[in-house]
């Protein structure tokens, strides 16, 4: 496979984790501008675990996911009373504070004659897991796609269980949800925590793939991109955010003659698209309708 294609595909896969984590928050009716922070925390933790502590990649990624989840849970607990714009802005502030923490995190060690570890604004270089394990770009793509597929399977089984419908109900109409005996706070906290885990895991993969990470990578623009992908793709199914990622990175970035005008086209396209499909391309209604059609045909 072409190296360029493989690295574009890998990037899409990694950003898909971020878009899915934004999706999970949107499902419970909130908007987060802060998912990039959990992505960044996951990246730093996985990098530290594999490069500094020499942990196996599995434990490294798991630690990244747990780190992202704990930060998200902390945010969820602190903002337990907030919703709407108030919640959205507090996620932004929280994310910037976490990034500031990373900017000042210095813990370098010498391993095999190389200085590694987080070094303030310089970031964390020499995450050599990929080289040490002789991974080619295509091998890594395979690894990332496998992880994404596992995540999608988990999300789809969630989608088939009443949990996801309950979460959507909490997001759309908390009063109705309460009248059905659903505890909105519990749903919100669990989904925010889960979103942190997904973002942290994706961040871990991102660190391993990039081999160098720095706080500037995890700015608010990254998070808003993830959010936009989820909204454009639609909140009907976990496929939605992936479609959003594909539309932007896959379709537009790969058409090279357009590259300079990519954002002019994409920005206008998205705003225009939302006029006609305000709930995104794969809207909940569309999914619900497709599901019942499918069932009718096969029962």
């Amino acid at each position: 496979m072409d190296m360029y294609l493989a690295s574009v595909l890998t990037n899409m896969t990694l950003i898909a984790f971020l878009a899915l984590s934004a999706y999970l928050v949107l499902v419970v009716g909130e908007v987060s501008f802060g998912q990039q922070a959990f992505f960044g925390i996951g990246a730093y933790i996985t990098a530290s675990a594999t490069a500094l502590a020499g942990a196996h990649i599995f434990w490294g990624l798991l630690a990244g996911a747990i780190g992202g989840a704990s930060c998200a849970l902390l945010l969820g607990l602190l903002t337990i009373r907030l919703s709407g714009i108030y919640f959205a802005i507090s996620t932004l502030c929280f994310a910037e504070l976490l990034r500031f923490f990373l900017l000042h995190l210095r813990f370098t060690q010498s391993v095999d004659g190389r200085i590694i570890g987080p070094d303030g604004p310089e970031g964390f270089s020499n995450i050599r897991w990929i080289f040490e394990n002789h991974y080619q770009v295509t091998d890594f793509l395979l690894l990332a796609v496998t992880c994404l597929i596992i995540l999608l399977i988990v999300l789809f089984s969630l989608e088939r269980s009443p949990i996801m419908l309950g979460a959507r109900m909490v997001g759309n109409d908390p009063i109705l949800a309460q009248s059905q005996g659903l505890n909105p706070t519990r749903y919100r906290l669990s989904f925010i925590t889960l979103s942190g885990a997904v973002a942290g895991f994706g961040g871990g993969l991102f660190a391993l793939f990039n081999t160098h990470i720095e706080p500037a990578m995890f700015g608010v623009m990254l998070g808003i991109h993830g959010l936009a992908y989820a909204v454009i793709g639609g909140l009907g199914s976990a496929v939605g955010p992936l479609l959003g990622v594909f539309l932007d990175i896959g379709l537009l970035e790969s058409i090279r003659p357009l590259a300079a005008y990519r954002m002019i086209i994409f920005g206008g396209l998205v705003a225009f698209l939302l006029v006609f499909r305000p709930e995104g391309i794969i809207s909940p209604r569309l999914v619900s309708r497709l599901k019942s059609r499918w069932r009718n045909r096969h029962v």
Binding site: I175, P284, R295
Partner: protein
């Protein structure tokens, strides 16, 4: 046994409810009437946990629910319907009804209720594509699926023709079951007579007054 004791509520210094008490035995069917603005909606919201009373207690089978959140009321078996019916518009009716019936026993009950109500054909539709009389029935089914202790109906007659209301009443009578107590907040007296065994009137600042003479025995 469900009871409200000495419920009081005021908004901005104006007493809307003052010392309201009410006891319901299993299977009892009570109607509440009253002019607009005497606080019927406030009462139903307090009774189902969506508003917190300033004073008084709410108990269900000797368990105090007063300060519990609304979802805990629902879990304890206090169900309600809403004035203009309330559903998600982004999922079809069948999915939403299934969400209300989580235990296997409730699922069986739900299937039976859906059959009796003639809603099968509407299950794959979105709530905004279903006519109001059907939605009213669906809302009652959603409430009854988990065989609740008390079911509160908030103005079930609104928007229904007399004929539709009649059908609704028959359906309700046939499917309430022995255990569930029913409270109907309503203007239509004919409908009340049909489905309740006693009616109280809510009066401004006087609380609930028995309407003995009008009530069938």
């Amino acid at each position: 046994m469900y009871s409200l004791q000495g419920i009081g509520k005021s908004f901005g210094g104006i007493d809307v409810l003052r010392d309201i008490s009410l006891t319901l035995k299993p299977g009892q069917r009570l109607g509440i009437t009253g002019a607009n603005g005497v606080g019927k909606s406030t009462l139903i919201n307090i009774a189902t946990g969506f508003l917190k009373p300033d004073s008084g207690h709410i108990q269900l089978n000797n368990k105090t629910l007063t300060h519990q959140p609304a979802w805990a009321f629902a879990q304890a078996g206090i169900q309600r319907t809403f004035q203009n019916t309330r559903f998600l518009t982004t999922a079809n009716l069948g999915e939403q009804l299934l969400l209300a019936a989580r235990a296997p026993e409730s699922k069986r009950r739900l299937t039976k209720l859906i059959e009796l109500s003639g809603l099968q054909a509407s299950l794959h539709l979105f709530p905004d594509e279903i006519p109001l009389p059907m939605l009213r029935k669906a809302e009652v089914i959603r409430g009854l699926a988990a065989s609740p202790e008390v079911l509160f109906l908030d103005e079930p007659s609104a928007g229904l023709t007399t004929f539709e209301l009649d059908q609704f009443g028959v359906f309700l009578q046939q499917n309430l079951g022995q255990k569930t107590a029913l409270v109907v907040v309503e203007h239509r007296f004919d409908f009340m007579l049909m489905i309740t065994d006693s009616v109280v009137e809510m009066q401004l600042n006087r609380g609930l007054v028995k309407r003995g003479a009008d009530v069938k025995t």
